[in-house]
Symmetry: D2
């Protein structure tokens, strides 16, 4: 499902725009998430395992899994937007396929359809332990492009 080809990275201006936005997301820093690959229409976010992101059985909480999946999809959409625009999640749906465990989880947002107003992304989250990767969640997300706020 996840191909290992790492498509070319997005151009530096786009990467910087996304890193700046990510750094302003208090939740991502608080969870300990970090940006991985940033390509055109495709963004990876990693979340290392720690007690602060678990549910009652010690697995990654679905809320943490969803949070990085949602952000990965949002930034994937954002890589294709012109300057002075911003992105909001309209909705998403996620299936939790297996208990999320591993050294870290990695969310991949991939644009399926990029329209003028709406973008649709595929969301995948993998549990990673050493060289083992297994799909733990899969989702689908709709986003809307809006005119950017001044500070954006």
């Amino acid at each position: 499902m996840e191909d290992e080809r790492q498509p070319e990275p997005a151009n530096p201006a786009v990467q910087e725009r996304i890193r700046n936005s990510f750094d302003r997301q208090g939740l991502m820093g608080h969870l300990g998430a970090r940006l991985g690959h940033i390509g055109p229409g495709r963004v990876h976010i990693l979340l290392p395992s720690r007690p602060e992101v678990t549910q009652q059985h010690g697995y990654f909480h679905a809320g943490a899994t969803s949070a990085i999946a949602d952000s990965a999809g949002g930034y994937a959409a954002f890589t294709l937007f012109p300057e002075n625009t911003s992105v909001l999640t309209v909705e998403y749906k996620i299936n939790l396929l297996a208990p999320a465990e591993g050294e870290h989880i990695e969310a991949i947002g991939q644009v399926l359809k990029s329209g003028r107003t709406l973008t649709v992304c595929q969301l995948e989250v993998f549990g990673v332990q050493g060289t083992q990767r297994s799909l733990v969640a899969t989702g689908q997300q709709t986003l809307i492009r809006i005119h950017a706020r001044a500070e954006q």
Copy 2:
């Protein structure tokens, strides 16, 4: 949409079971979330505003909104389960209706259909500022009942 009748609380054993489980969810404590009303088939979770739960514009992050909505639905289902069972989220879908802001947000999970294997919940999240409440997210969730782990 949200009625102000507070249905009777769940019985004390159920309440305690849920409080114990909630306390083991590292993510809920890390976000600063706390349990509100616990009724049969209905659970509220509150999340106070703080920089650690925001997205890039200062609103509550969709991941935080979703995390407490998911937990509220999970515990709502759990109130109707027999002892020695556990609950897992199969999937959920959530629409973010408006920027989530306020002193706190409150997620309400409400069981729509409780089956032997699967439970379906409605999820609602309100932004609360003083006496003002506005619906910021609405969702639908499917959960599965499983045999409990020893520690559950």
Copy 3:
């Protein structure tokens, strides 16, 4: 879940706009569906039981259940739109709660949030047998308002 108050009907011009559009939906006529109540932000569609709308066990096919739910939500949104606009379904999610059976099924689309660009609806489908009504499906739908085509 479904209140029995029938809110006031939509104004006659809106009703006519919806009836005209409904009559142009080849699928609705082919299934045997018909419009019920048309109120502001709320539309009912009925589908009588017949072999042509079943799945392999003789219940209403999820595709038939979904088709009238999708149309009910679309028209519910449409009741609140200005003239010279049109409506498209962006996405929907539906849970099939129980086998759909009865003399007919009735789908109710209800607007939860009406924005300038996007509208979110709740979808419910009931199986109806005499005076018995039971919820067989529940869903959530996102729609987009577009400039109307000439023929609309």
Copy 4:
């Protein structure tokens, strides 16, 4: 997204089980849908264009698109089930990416995760005109395996 490799067909007994079930779905026959490829964990269903399956603008109705997508996913899951079991859709979510048009539409259900109780499928629908294929809808579906009815 859709690879052109046609994986090997399912074994003849499985194919026959699915053809028999499909023939009992009154709705599929009424719409004019027919089975395409039947492989292990993957089923295609085609629906030719005709006025009986349209919405008000002459495109395929989202209800028809969804109906064949739902059935394709259900049968994809069913190919992996043991005898004397049956399949029910728990829920699905579908994004309508573009107006569905063409000589026919083709729905592809693909199993993403096959569990003992629950199966998760990816749903894709393509509009096909001559050699042109374009993705018009994408979805995600949860199904449950149940003990078969006598007639199944």
